[in-house]
Symmetry: C2
């Protein structure tokens, strides 16, 4: 399939005219064919209006109908396999096995949301039955569910060209909830975006979905994105990217005549705490694990550990030094790390340079040799500082995207708690310890519970399981709205809203709320969970 | 209990100094003793810091502990009965039976939230069990729940001195979720606020809750409220009031270094549609019901019908005119309507005057005699216009708080659908019809579903049932966040956030997530609802 470089507007395409840009191969720094044309103001408008027009039908489509589309998208993407993997590799320099596993994750995610809406209980149907005899006034029949919110703008992430991009988690959950989606492609992997976008468009056509449930806009800058977020037809935004980018969209959305929710996943340093019991048992194993987690994907995961803290242990002071020495050694050994694009590459180089010279940094460990100069290659860097310096210097809390982390050794219990209190919101926090350590540091857990979305025990934050209980979120600035998750089935509630029906005749209710429970979903009837129908008699009515 | 006029700061009180104000009796226009002292910047800071300090303990308090406090608050408020009713009556001129029923609603609401947290399933515990044998990587054990969000600022509403004020729905749901609360009293009923505030403070002391879970700040202006919303210790805001006030708080919260969610319930005109079948059967009954709903509480409910639309019916054209004549007659008959305060009184007088002279208004019906001039008395006003004028003039969509509404007669099917599409977000929409009408107007229901939080059949929007399925919300500008509700048990999720635990030892998990399910709550285990424990074997672990 030859790439066209044209934005997808429902079942038609934008003109190939105006400003254009090309992707760059991060391994070589060379640009890749073809040119991609930035969407015009009219293109943005058309995509948003098509989405608004499609909303009515799609928001009321059955779970079965929505499942057909989501499964079809998964199939179509899988069918692209080799061709898609090659283009992703060219545009991102990510290793092929990683791309393949991300592709599998993307299609699995689509199928998980298909299953969720086919089963149907996700709407959290609640029924409070009428009581016509209640005094002083009869109790009405009230039934509520979660309903689609409206057209959603989705922004592709630089670091997940598939799983958090055109057909990623935001698109899957927004479509599953019943919303049309307008995707803004990432400027660094537009070819990947077009291929996946065509797969979605074909799936929509093949499954008879209304035109406008999907559009894809190209742009190398921020203009198209901002005008999309400000378009009155758009009712919610999903974004994964930098803190500056996310905050700019939050501000744009908040200043609209009709403010809309923005679900932006931004920055996180994912603190790791290593407690004495664990250090005594497995210091070298943890050093290896931490190194893998810091350098995985060239350190370009939002869950990369950006600070590692070891707790002082008077009885075994040497263990922390052993750990630090092992981690220094691993980081100094280097590796082949190519960053995703020139912006990330430039930021990494300048941010590590600034940090290396920053007051409070006591030691810097990196390979002796510089990395090869072709493409966006970088070297890993380990910084060391003290708990006190870190606690009082916000600059040390800033995320550096890439294979770098900060080590803080031998923190006393008080230092460690103060450091935890000084943290902003993050996606995760990790504890290595024994069960005894956890009891000992219960107050640390309590602090971290209010700082992050996910607490990990004896593991690493990289690797985010896609499941019902996953929470990939956290207080600002980790995300724009720490109440939600962008991974797992609970992500669907970001793109939905509560609606209730009072004293409605059974026949005019959505299937999920009908007496007979035709979809056999879990519902809360008068406060109790059940899959049973309710008898028509029992809604005897105050109408 | 003599009133002191001093803000409540945890277990101490603010100084009686600085600027002060007094409440006004709306029935007489006379001011009432004693003076109330506006909170100082230091008072705001102290209240917020006490709340932050209390958060750790309160957020981890058991449902049983939180239930004890909520029930104690209900008891203490009920114990105030006559004294409290008298003060509310003096400060609001609301009829005593209404005040008594609002008091009952307030204590019932507190007990409903007590019951909710004592039972415990509200946390929506989800457990995805580990699978150490999964390829290519083992599946971790992930368990999530909803957890308290942090100190909440609550603003009292002018029109519900009890049920949406100091111990109202926002306070009840925020405390139930595990959050300390700092309440900003309404300037029009500070005495009511102090009495209820003391009842809460005593309940907190008596039940051994941490100091700082409750504070109450006085102010006649907006300064204290704005500085509270901007305080870094505050993590969410609950507000019921005007569109201007709500939007100002939204903007203040969105521009913080750390933006926080604002749950503001603002303005709504609650459209009522009367379809041909219903009109043929019950035109005079509906006219009476609509009049009661428009004038209930002097038209000062957020659910007051602000526009009533009758559908053209060629076969029975006379019915709509009968209905209009009856409604005009009822509105012209007047009644004794005293508004809550001078601001609402002035707005009503000027807004009804402007609307009466507005282009597109074809008829104005009001009593011949002016209302008595003592206090904040007003006359009801019925405006009439056409569907076309209404659809194209945003000014006619504006809420007028007080006993006034707009009637649009004989709309054709197309006019009616266009009018519905032109609506902003509202709290409710009401349909009067037969079941056949509903089938006939399915497309109207579909439009309204995306415009409101609650759809009512053959009833009236005033009267909001406090139950599990209630949705008292709606898209902006009805509320700041149309995804949620401010009434009913689902309101608790506004003041909570998702947190998950990965591979945590059973002993260190919150009780809600422990294998043995000690609280016997409903949980989702691998996607299925159950109250059963899980066997320790089944979490066989990837640790």
């Amino acid at each position: 399939m030859p790439l066209t470089g044209r934005s997808i507007l429902g079942y038609s395409s934008a003109e190939a005219r105006g400003a254009s840009f090309r992707a760059t191969n991060p391994a070589t720094g060379e640009s890749i064919q073809p040119p991609f044309y930035s969407a015009s103001v009219e293109d943005v408008n058309r995509a948003a209006l098509l989405a608004e027009r499609a909303f009515g039908d799609w928001s009321r489509a059955s779970g079965k109908t929505k499942g057909v589309l989501l499964r079809k998208i998964a199939e179509n993407i899988e069918a692209l396999k080799d061709e898609l993997v090659a283009r992703v590799s060219e545009e991102t320099a990510l290793p092929v096995p990683r791309i393949k596993s991300e592709l599998f994750r993307t299609s699995s995610q689509l199928r998980l949301f298909a299953q969720l809406v086919e089963e149907g209980s996700w709407v959290i149907a609640r029924i409070d039955r009428a009581d016509p005899n209640r005094a002083p006034i009869p109790k009405p029949d009230i039934r509520s569910l979660w309903h689609a919110i409206g057209p959603v703008a989705v922004f592709c992430a630089s670091n997940f060209p598939l799983a958090f991009s055109v057909a990623g988690g935001d698109t899957a959950s927004a479509l599953a909830a019943g919303n049309p989606v307008v995707v803004k492609a990432h400027g660094a992997h537009p070819g990947t975006a077009e291929m996946v976008g065509e797969a979605i468009r074909n799936a929509a056509r093949e499954s008879g979905a209304p035109e406008g449930i999907f559009s894809l806009l190209f742009d190398s800058g921020i203009e198209v994105g901002v005008s999309l977020v400000k378009h009155p037809s758009i009712k919610a935004v999903g974004f994964t990217g930098s803190r500056e980018g996310g905050r700019a969209l939050m501000d744009a959305a908040a200043s609209r005549p009709e403010p809309i929710p923005v679900f932006a996943e931004m920055s996180s340093i994912n603190p790791v705490f290593i407690l004495p019991g664990a250090m005594r048992q497995r210091s070298s194993e943890i050093a290896k694990g931490a190194h893998v987690s810091v350098t995985l994907g060239a350190g370009q995961f939002c869950t990369k550990p950006g600070v590692i803290v070891t707790a002082a242990d008077a009885a075994n002071a040497g263990k922390n030094e052993e750990f630090a020495a092992a981690l220094r050694e691993l980081m100094r050994a280097g590796g082949d790390f190519t960053l995703l694009n020139s912006r990330i590459h430039q930021s990494y180089i300048s941010n590590t340079k600034v940090r290396a010279n920053q007051h409070g940094i006591s030691k810097v460990s990196q390979p002796d040799a510089s990395p090869a100069s072709d493409g966006f290659r970088v070297a890993p860097v380990l910084f060391e500082t003290t708990a006190t310096a870190f606690t009082h210097d916000a600059k040390l809390h800033a995320e550096i995207f890439g294979p770098s982390t900060v080590l803080i050794s031998n923190s006393s219990r008080d230092e460690l708690l103060q450091l935890a209190r000084s943290l902003e919101g993050h996606l995760t926090a990790t504890l290595h310890g024994t069960e005894e350590d956890l009891r000992e540091y219960a107050d640390l857990i309590a602090i971290l519970e209010s700082k992050v979305g996910r607490l990990i025990f004896n593991g690493y934050p990289t690797g985010v399981e896609v499941c019902h209980a996953m929470v990939h979120g956290g207080p600002y600035p980790a995300t724009s709205d720490g109440r939600t998750t962008s991974v797992g089935t609970q992500a669907i509630y970001r793109f939905a809203r509560l609606v209730c029906f009072q004293n409605f005749p059974n026949a005019s209710l959505p299937d999920e709320l009908k007496d007979e429970n035709p979809l056999k979903i879990w519902r809360m009837i008068d406060g109790e969970q059940t899959r049973d129908p309710i008898s028509p008699r029992s809604r005897a009515t105050s109408q």
